[in-house]
Amino acid sequence: AQSVTQPDIHITVSEGASLELRCNYSYGATPYLFWYVQSPGQGLQLLLKYFSGDTLVQGIKGFEAEFKRSQSSFNLRKPSVHWSDAAEYFCGGGGTSYGKLTFGQGTILTVHP
């Protein structure tokens, strides 16, 4: 079955520190992969997407993610975290570019000053 897993429920980092949020997927073929961010009371905002091609994708707000087929991973990274990055982050995958998305459980990011 198609699935997306985020192993870390909650991560705490200090402002200015680097960040990596993990995402693993299980799909028969190369999935379409996304990272979304959700601030309290808000909807899901797209950070970045991977459809094909370059395995390192750049997104908004200084985020990037790397698709690694050998590890079935699509981890989200940011070199220096800002307090405003505190939110919940969701990794999502789809078998097609237009089909349903399957989301991971989400990772709550807390940023300490």
Partner: protein
Amino acid sequence: EPEVTQTPSHQVTQMGQEVILRCVPISNHLYFYWYRQILGQKVEFLVSFYNNEISEKSEIFDDQFSVERPDGSNFTLKIRSTKLEDSAMYFCASRGGTGAQPQHFGDGTRLSIL
């Protein structure tokens, strides 16, 4: 930047009542979706809609649920007889029709069933 708009932001309904959640997708988008997120749980797919018909639905989307695109702009989710377990945040999403396009989400409607 164009947005997906959902109304109301919060809906409180008595168990057994019908509820309609409304969404205005991004203009010119052709694919429409509903997802829900029960408090503390992951976002779950409910249904996708394309070319005026359901293209895929999940096990959650039973006979109590229906979707409609009554005009050229609105996309609605109806729950006929609400249950306590329908309490959740419901998200609408839309996607452009060509190429590798992501889904864009609205801010959601929080549905509380009493």
